[in-house]
């Protein structure tokens, strides 16, 4: 099967700091990959390079057949990056809902402003996606009236409403109180079962074990190990992976 995400020889520097070192990675359609690694290993940076929230220093990013070479500049580049962002949906640790907009307005904002969709159609799509994450009941609330878990589910619906080809999650449950993590993971599991291609940075090893098709371990800006969850968890090869998993066992 053709990969839907293909990252080739990605390098990223922050000034002199070499954060991603020649990373290559492919995801096939409907695949769910969990990205794990110590703090500072470059997980967020890798994810954010895929939709160019961070500017990669070198390499090629390809999503759903759209290839973006980092060297391309100017107007052509802006168009490519824009198209790339339409193919990817992103969910942030801090939700980043628009506080001045109600739940439904948050979700129709993208389709209307970016895709020039007419409002009735956008609302229809938004309601369908809010239903998917179990938040249709709060359609007219404002974000500051929602719990963290509810906010994150709306943020997921907002990303889904753009009809992305792949979903990127950057520690979607790390800012949540423990009792609210479950509802978000349940939604993500459901998306995975529906066949959504997902790349998830997470510390939730239970979720990774249960839902992921593949675990990718990042250390010092390099992929040091990857494999099926059962194999990787039971028989980690690299010492750094062992040390990382050790921490979750305690």
């Amino acid at each position: 099967m053709n990969p839907i995400i293909k990252i080739s020889h990605l390098d990223k520097y922050f000034g002199k700091l070499h954060v991603l070192k020649d990373v290559s990675l492919e995801l096939v359609p409907k695949e769910v990959c969990c990205l794990i690694g110590r703090s500072g290993s470059g997980k967020s940076t890798l994810l954010r390079c895929i939709n160019f929230l961070e500017e990669p220093s070198a390499g090629i990013i390809e999503v759903d057949g759209l290839e973006v070479h980092v060297e391309v500049k100017g107007k052509q580049r802006r168009q490519l990056v824009h198209d790339l962002r339409l193919k990817t949906g992103m969910v942030f640790q801090e939700f980043n809902l628009f506080p001045h907009l109600s739940v439904i307005e948050n979700v129709i904002e993208g389709p209307i402003t970016v895709n020039n969709m007419d409002k009735t159609k956008a609302i229809e799509i938004a309601e369908m996606n809010l239903e998917r994450v179990g938040m249709l009941g709060k359609r007219d609330e404002y974000p500051n009236r929602l719990s963290g878990g509810q906010k994150q589910r709306v943020a997921i619906a907002r990303a889904l409403a753009m009809g992305p080809k792949v979903m990127l999650f950057d520690e979607p449950t790390s800012a949540l109180d423990p009792e609210l993590i479950g509802e978000v993971l349940t939604v993500m599991k459901k998306l995975a079962e529906e066949g959504t291609t997902m790349l998830v940075v997470t510390h939730e090893m239970g979720f990774a074990q249960e839902v992921a098709d593949r675990i990718i371990v990042l250390a010092d800006g390099q992929i040091i190990e990857q494999g099926r969850p059962d194999q990787l968890f039971s028989n980690p090869q690299d010492k750094r992976t062992q040390a990382l998993l050790e921490r979750y066992h305690n």
């Binding site: 980043n96 404002y142 500051n144 907002r158």
Partner: protein, 284 residues
């Protein structure tokens, strides 16, 4: 259930914490009451001071200030009809100031050197010169260059430019109150930078800037009095000085104007704090 709870309250002695809380509450309420009473006394004293009464106390005679009530009655409505003009000038000026302040704030955040320079240059020039001079500049100096503005336009232009420079700081704070995460969320769903600005950053920044802009409007109501110096804008101050000078009753005329300014300030301040409370709820 509520009966039971009530009974409980009576039976059980209050805890130390509850007692302290009650005492603090009582002190707070007493303070507020005393301040209110003092205000009333000060107001009464002011009335007394201008009552025109003569008082003899232990051999000393005190004369309070006498105001000409006939003059007041005859000219009250003439002065009062300046209120609308004063509010009108202030609204126009604050509108201009808001636009300029927003542009200056955007310029201040710009990475393009000439744009940044223009913004800081404008703010520096305006803040470095008196408002009074600026008003006269537009009214008296520009005609020398063949540009003739009416007193109203000169005044609004000067007030707008002046307040815009000071208010740019408010809008700068407003713009930087919108976090990086908001911008990234907008970009991630595919917005262009200008869509992000219009749909995500500006609405939040303006919301942030609305209450302080209200404060500036209240200050503007009073600074608009300076426009009377052009002699052609018939707002409160102009009307007061005109009848006051003509009939040599400046004391009465200025007191009337002062009372109107004060009342306007009180009304708009209370509207303002209501607005602020509404915004603080934050559900809109």
């Amino acid at each position: 259930m509520s009966l039971f709870g009530h009974k409980n309250n009576i039976d059980q002695p209050k805890t130390q914490g509850e007692l302290i809380y009650d005492a603090q509450n009582r002190t707070k309420r007493m303070f507020t009451t005393n301040v209110a009473i003092s205000w009333i006394i000060l107001l009464l004293f002011l009335f007394f001071l201008f009552s025109g009464l003569t008082i003899t106390l232990g051999g000393y005679t005190f004369k309070t200030i006498h105001l000409d009530t006939v003059f007041i009655q005859e000219n009250l409505s003439f002065i009062a009809s300046g209120i609308g003009v004063t509010i009108g000038i202030s609204l126009l000026s604050i509108l201009l100031a808001t636009v300029l302040a927003l542009l200056a704030a955007l310029g201040r955040l710009s990475k393009i050197p000439p744009v940044y320079a223009l913004s800081t240059f404008y703010v520096s020039l305006i803040r470095g010169t008196p408002l009074y001079l600026q008003i006269f500049f537009f009214f008296l100096a520009l005609p020398q260059l063949g540009i003739i503005l009416t007193g109203l336009y000169a005044g609004v232009l000067a007030l707008g430019l002046n307040y815009g420079a000071y208010m740019s700081e408010i809008f700068r704070a407003g713009l930087s109150s919108v976090g990086k995460g908001q911008r990234e969320a907008a970009l991630a769903i595919g917005m262009t930078p200008s869509q992000m600005m219009r749909r995500v950053v500006l609405p939040q920044a303006l919301r942030f800037a609305l209450p302080p802009t209200g404060n500036e409007f209240i200050a503007m109501l009073k600074d608009s009095a300076l426009v009377s110096a052009t002699g052609f804008v018939h707002e409160l101050m102009w009307r007061a000085t005109r009848v006051g000078r003509a009939q040599f009753h400046n004391l009465e005329a200025l007191i009337i104007a002062a009372v109107f300014y004060w009342i306007m300030t009180l009304i708009f301040t209370s509207l303002q704090s209501r607005l602020e409370a509404h915004m603080a709820r934050g559900d809109r």
